[in-house]
Amino acid sequence: MKLSHNKVIDEDQILLDPILKTGKGFYLSVIILASIVLLAIYAYILQFQKGLGVTGLNRPTFWGVYITNFVFFIGISHAGTLISAILRIAQAEWRRAITRSAEVITVIVLFFGVGNILIDLGRPDRLLNMLLYGRFQSPLLWDFISISTYLTASIIYLYLPLIPDIAILRDTAGKRKWLYSVLALGWKGTEKQLQILEKAIAIMAVLVIPIAVSVHTVVSFVFAMTIQPMWHSAIFGPYFVAGAIFSGIAALIIAMAIIRKVYKLDNYLKNVHFNNLGVLLLVMCCLWFYFTFCEYITVFYGSEPVHLAVLNSKFSGEYAPYFWTMVITCFVIPFIILANSRTRTIAGTVIASISVTIGMWLERFTIVVPTLVNPRLPYERGIYHPTWVEAAITAGSFALFILLYIIFTKLFPIVSVWEIKEGREKGVAEVEERIKTYLPGAEA
């Protein structure tokens, strides 16, 4: 398949518009987001100079918002690569318009997952000790290895399908030619190149799935490997992975809705995409509820005092507002909206997704904090209230994430141009062939 660039400009020109034209909205968002980021940088400098005393952390609540953010952001990262890889492998044709926006989430958000754990360190200046004295016995080292592998794999997985689009930009955009020439790696769109590319994408898609699963499993192991009440649970691995995919899909739906609105891509990100992702979100919503139910009912029924102390602090104690808000936002609201096909519209799925995103942050928070506040030796009771520093750094993480995402959309097409084109030219025929093979009478 040779890409005729003139045709691209005719049909899919709108996909390149964000790169070629820049409006007032862009500069306004950059200014707003950048000022939040600056505030966060100021907060971090303060923390770096004074120590973690500027947070609300104490003994026994040694971990708080930063670790919550770490788990949350790493969870969001499952949006991308995993969803897009599964959809590619399953040959789901509706994936074409959404894979790129998902993969970008993964790559960018991973930096904030890692970033938050670095912000949480008392001695970030000694980070190199992880390499010098790294000890494989510690689950933190498993995270270190797993997340860096995932980051590498997802960057490659984002970059590979980007190459043909970069080549289009190199040949047509006229802007930043040097950048696109280097990144296009001499792509000409020959049949041979395309074959190699598709093979590479297929390999990466398969490779990325076990890595993604391992990432959130070892993140959960940070907690589950200790013997602390309500952390020491075998269900944590799958529970965290399910929650990660759940929040990942939600983040993807929100991102897609914004892209659709701002770049006027109604024709590419259609009702069907939101509906299908909405169904996936519904499945994960039920799975999340199932895991949560299993986790809490066993603790409740077993009624061991140390575990029950944590449970009670979530059910009726000081963390009850967080816990019940989590149940409503993670299950009740999305379930009601998504289970009904009439409310599973674009607006509906977006509301459900915002709800899930809030709920999943709270879920991570109610896993990390109540256990620490109720330790086994019940004589240490700290009160944990996050300070403005923690709030600013959290807001800054979100703001910088959105900012980098916006910048990406200004440099590269956020909907894969060549894949849309391939779908139009090859996909339709391929699917027809495929369906024929499912039917009786056709050759195997």
Partner: protein, 228 residues
Amino acid sequence: MPKWGMVIDLDKCTACQACVVACQAENNIPLAGPNQTFMGRSIHWMELISHIEGEYPHTKIKLIPRPCFHCDNPPCIKVCPVRATYKSEEEGIVGQIFPRCIGCRYCTTACPYTVRYFNWEKPEWPEMMKNLLNPDVSVRPKGVVEKCSFCYHRLVKLREKAKAEGKDFSPDEYVPACVQTCPSQAMFFGDLSDPNSRVSILARSNRAFRIMEELGTEPKVIYLAEGE
């Protein structure tokens, strides 16, 4: 190979907190001040914990001096990503390497007894106390974890002294500051691997118990329960 352990006789303990004060002075533990203490950030390698049973007016309060238990199977050292905390093979003491600790506070969350402390800010002392710091114990920087060391520096010093004098090191000479100070002689320290040592004999008493023994952490601090 000695296995250092401590026995605390709760029958003899008067809860005077002399052990707490001795520890603060011996180990250069910074003063937290009222605000930080209220937030739960004060550091006490040795702390008196109050265990309250029953409802008023039939309450029973137990006051228990609590150092680090120097578990033989410590959950804290397993999770350290940089081996900044370790159990010394020769002594069985759980130590902390301050210059290496990256301050991730994984050990503090993994310890079921919550006996590890973090330096939330740069430790500071009032001007008049600055000259009173113990030169044998390093002052910790901000952002690292610290904990009771069974006054390990005393052991090192005694060993060196014995070597310099050409004598054999006698385990009886080594006592942590808390044990040395205890006015009611409720605390004992010694080698648990020697079946005839004072601590070993006391550890076999009917009154002997260890806190949360069921976790399998094998604490090396043994309590003697109060009699009727």
